[in-house]
Amino acid sequence: MTTDQAEVQLQVRFVTKQEQYAVPDSPYAIQSNVQSAELNTLVNAILKETKPLILKAVEFDFLVCGELLCTSIAEHLQEKGISTEDTLEIEYLERFPAPKPQECLMHDDWVSSVHTHGSWILSGCYDNSIHIWTTKGQHKLAIPGHTSPVKGVSWVSNDGEQASFASCSHDQSAMLWVWNVARNSVDCVVTCRGHDKGVECIAVAVDAKHFATGSWDNNICLWSASLTDEDNVPAKKRSKPEQGNSRTPKSTLKGHREAVSAVKWVDFNTLLSSSWDHLLKLWDCELGGIKQEIAGNKAFFDADWSPLNNSIVTASADRHVRIYDPRSTESIVKTTFTSHTGWVQSVRWSTIRDTLFLSAGYDGQVKLWETRSPRTPLYDLTGHEDKVLCCDWSNPALLVSGSCDNTVRIFKAKHATASA
């Protein structure tokens, strides 16, 4: 069989959307059993002839029929059921370089949440504390304040001198903090109380003016993110000598029947939420109503929406990562990505490439996926020794994940910006 395939000659043409690597539009005859490595050398050889400006060899990935080539071309075509007679168009693009492991941030307890912004990493921990780190691995601050495990953290703003961030915890509260970078001191500006049970997730709106929290009491609360609370707290309450200020929710979105596991802002008015009741909901925050509902068949643990491709990637109580299209009225899964061996706990889209996303699961793996390769992830980011609870890709150059082994691991994505 292999010999048969080896004899088959294929007519191929190479195309690319990355113009700096374009090659002449002429067909080439190749053996059908070649893999992407051979194609890579071939394309590089052509590039060398046609574009002498490119000095270094470039690693390419090859897309055949809209799917990433992982096996030999013959097998790939056989899988897709495409004839080897026609001239095949192979699209190539610069391969996303392998992320390089960087620092390992040691915590005292399980890391439940992590968020990066610029060069700062915020992490929430099961020992009720919040930590601030630099991307170089320097521990800036440990912030106690919550009385129960912190479940979500998010930067609100960071202008270099003063930064603010929000956190939520199982102690039924969310807190808004101000960090003075220069003095390295943190103040809890506001404590947000409104949930009846533990707060599971937090999301700050794009304009940083408000944030949303989802809780075990099945509600989503919207809060103002302003650090000064003159505008929304009555004078009477402000006068109360409490430790810090307390804030009540701007509005409460009720509709889920189980715990809300994730909230994400789609635009300044639209909120995406995922819940254990097997539903994804898109909320209109002004009106407080549900815009759209997508039903899955497992409890959702996490969801993320990307403005680049307007798709929702979800993690649910099984081994699969699924992509939903919020524009379609039917709850149809666009693609299912299967490679994890345990529950997937967290998913994040890339902020700069519409085809890449990150997933973290209970099998201790963090995987970098290309949407056009549903069976094989681009890279497995190994290193964690226990369940991975969270991951983050807010900074395009940093792939961050927090785990039950009390660590946050940072992977650096090289050339990530260049390949945009």
Partner: protein
């Protein structure tokens, strides 16, 4: 009685009575009835008629003999010769055909010529009456054996008509004296003449009728198929063929169908050797001229396959049956299954066909399919585990004397409460707004509030507030019997700090306890408690009750009905259901197991599941019967725990073997539809430790996730 019988009877009577008297009675009673006249005729002369028929009375033959004897001498020579000739023919059945052939060699049809000849004779003798009766004799003489005398009588008949007076005279001479006296009274000649006329007049119509009704052919006349003295054709139009001794109709037997005909006609398969032996026979036949003649007409000898040649009625073609066909026919004839390969003793039912048709497990999703999480932390075996009503937390208790609170989705241990004694059972309160965990440790039943640092502050505060309220003093008083076995203890500060809110001490170790759905009552079962083994605690009033006065047996566990005031008490072999309002035993469920271990009530309340140490799970449908609806033997070891899912039609059982069995158990609202139980999945439990594997299974309240408390110190979540 049918008319022919009367006739027969009358004739018989007439044998003993006077002739004239007989005649007069006949003429007077039924001159118009030709049947009677026929009977008359029988009496008069035609005993041959009865002779022809099968059953003829011996008296008739005697009479015939008399007539014959008398008439023989009176016969003319010709007639006598003829009769002799005929009789000789009759007696020699073998040579009949041959002799005829010799007599009329030119004639092809011997029987036809025969008839012609005889007809001539009797036309000459000018008697019509015997014509029809003679012919059959000529023809059938060969066939009818032993009718020689009868034929002779018949031959004598034509002459009898002419010479009636003499015959009658003879008869009269032999008759009784009474007859003779009467004859003398009349003028004998006149009477005789009259008699002859009568007879002749009467005979004529009978003759004609016989001739035409029988179809006027000599062939059929003789072959009349009769039952008794009745020809078959009498019943041609009827469904019955006669009457039995009681006068009931005898139904016509069903006609044989074509297959029967075929099977009858089909040749018997003969062994090969038998067919061989025919060859010398044919050789002999060729030598014999007579055989040659016969074989010429007959295909038997020409065609060696004649014996197995049959005519296909549908096509009209002749078919030579193959050996296979012959075997088939012989098998059918012997009443065996036509297929030779068929083994009557072979089991034709496959085992799979006996298995009931159940839906495929994949159609009954979701159900847990594999282990997802392990909750590690307990030092000893974990005896019990339970989810909180929202499904966010898990509480567990084990032999290490701790109660632990875990986060269900991550397996994170959030809190550990040291109780000092091995914890036998933990159960979260079913009320959503409270955070209260019941724990059975030794003789004490403790109610813990884990909420202090775990999750719901407000609920915890609410719970504490509720419990801090002292109950009205007059309510607390308990009777002496109860007070002797239950003690509501004061909770000291140290214990309070650990989360203990209420402690109830019993006089025996607590074996099992169960919350009421409203959360105010707890029913506890005490080890070896005998008649005081079941205690009901009311939290709001801080008091206890002993509902039973008598010892029902070895108690295992007790539980409240989810929404009706019923209490289920499980003893070693039975479940008793008590109505708490009426305070009476409602029913007793006999499980048919040696030793019951656990009870699970379906959330709808009409079905319950029992586990037993002898490896059974027993499903009861309370609406259906007090007997088990189904007994599931899915385990290889003792079953220690069963659990129903609150939302999904799922239940699980686990025990000492290394499998947790998840089953689909659908209960229908339709009362006519029985629950559907389908085993779905065997989940692998950790290997046994000290012969214990899984001690308790619990379902997540909302998700199809199963939690198992394992003997190896872990809790395992399956999803």
């Amino acid at each position: 009685m049918p008319p022919y019988k009367t006739g027969l009877l009358k004739r018989k009577i007439s044998e003993n009575t006077n002739k004239t008297k007989d005649n007069s009675s006949n003429s007077s009673s039924s001159c118009d009835d030709h049947n009677l006249i026929r009977g008359d005729l029988d009496k008069e002369a035609d005993s041959s008629d009865s002779d022809n028929e099968d059953g003829h009375a011996p008296s008739d033959t005697e009479l015939d003999g008399v007539v014959f004897d008398s008439g023989d001498s009176l016969l003319s020579d010709d007639a006598a010769n003829e009769s002799l000739e005929e009789s000789s023919d009759v007696s020699d059945s073998e040579e009949d055909e041959a002799s005829d052939g010799r007599e009329k060699e030119s004639d092809d049809d011997t029987s036809d010529s025969n008839t012609k000849a005889t007809t001539h004779k009797y036309i000459q003798s000018n008697t019509n009456i015997t014509k029809s009766k003679l012919k059959p004799d000529n023809e059938d003489s060969g066939a009818e054996s032993g009718s020689g005398s009868a034929s002779r009588v018949q031959h004598s008949l034509p002459h009898k008509n002419n010479e009636k007076p003499f015959k009658k005279k003879e008869f009269k001479q032999k008759a009784t004296k009474v007859a003779a006296e009467k004859k003398k009274a009349n003028s004998s000649l006149d009477a005789l003449e009259q008699k002859i006329k009568d007879v002749q007049v009467n005979i004529q119509p009978v003759q004609e009728k016989d001739e035409y009704e029988s179809g006027d052919t000599s062939d059929e006349e003789g072959r009349v198929n009769t039952a008794g003295e009745v020809p078959r054709w009498w019943y041609a139009e009827y469904d019955h063929v006669g009457y039995d001794a009681d006068g009931r109709r005898i139904a016509r037997p069903p006609h044989a169908d074509r297959i029967d005909d075929f099977l009858r006609c089909a040749p018997q398969p003969q062994p090969h050797t038998a067919r061989r032996s025919r060859t010398p026979h044919t050789a002999r036949r060729t030598a014999h001229p007579r055989y040659m003649l016969q074989c010429f007409c007959c295909r038997k000898c020409e065609d060696p396959d004649f014996w197995r040649t049959v005519r296909d009625p549908s096509t009209g073609q002749e078919i030579i049956l193959s050996k296979k066909d012959l075997e088939l026919i012989s098998r059918i004839r012997e009443g065996r299954v036509p297929n030779a390969d068929h083994d009557e003793y072979q089991l034709t039912i496959r085992p799979e066909e006996l298995v009931p048709q159940l839906p495929a497990p994949r159609d009954l999703q979701p159900f847990p399919t594999g282990e997802v999480l392990q909750f590690r932390g307990h030092a000893g075996l974990v005896r019990s585990a339970d989810f909180d009503p929202a499904g966010q937390y898990v509480v567990s208790g084990g032999d290490d004397g701790t109660v632990r609170i875990w986060e269900a989705s991550s397996g994170r241990c959030l809190r550990t409460v040291e109780l000092g004694e091995p914890v036998r059972l933990v159960e979260w309160t079913p009320v959503g707004g409270l955070t209260l965990v019941g724990a059975a440790a030794g003789r004490r039943l403790l109610l813990l509030n884990p909420g202090g640092h775990v999750g719901a502050h407000r609920a915890a505060q609410r719970t504490d507030l509720l419990l801090a309220e002292p109950p009205p003093a007059h309510d607390v008083r308990m009777d002496e019997r109860t007070a002797g076995c239950v003690q509501w203890e004061e909770v000291d500060a140290a214990q309070w700090a650990r989360g203990v809110r209420v402690a109830v001490a019993h006089f025996k170790p607590v074996q099992h306890f169960s919350w009421h759905a409203r959360g105010d009552y707890v029913v506890a079962t005490l080890e070896e408690g005998a008649s005081r083994g079941v205690v009901v605690h009311q939290l709001s009033r801080r008091r206890s009750q002993l509902p039973f006065r008598r010892n029902a047996g070895r108690l295992q566990c007790a539980a409240f009905h989810p929404h009706r005031p019923l209490l289920f008490v499980v003893t070693q072999r039975a479940v008793r259901v008590y109505d708490l309002v009426k305070q009476e035993l409602v029913r007793k469920l006999l499980a048919g197991a040696q030793w019951l271990s656990a009870l699970a009530l379906h959330p709808a309340g009409d079905n319950l599941l029992l586990a037993s140490y002898d490896r059974k799970c027993i499903w009861f449908d309370l609406e259906l019967s007090s007997r088990p609806y189904q007994t599931l033997r899915l385990h290889a070891g003792a079953v220690r725990s069963v659990a129903f899912h609150r939302r999904y039609p799922l239940f699980a059982s686990a025990g000492d073997d290394t499998n947790i069995v998840v089953c689909h158990g659908c209960v229908y609202n339709d009362l006519l539809q029985n629950p559907l139980l389908v085993p779905l999945k065997q989940l692998r439990a950790p290997p046994p430790r000290d012969q214990l594997s899984v001690l308790q299974v619990r379902w997540h309240p909302a998700q199809p996730w199963l939690l198992a408390a394992c003997a190896d110190g872990t809790l395992r979540l399956y999803a």
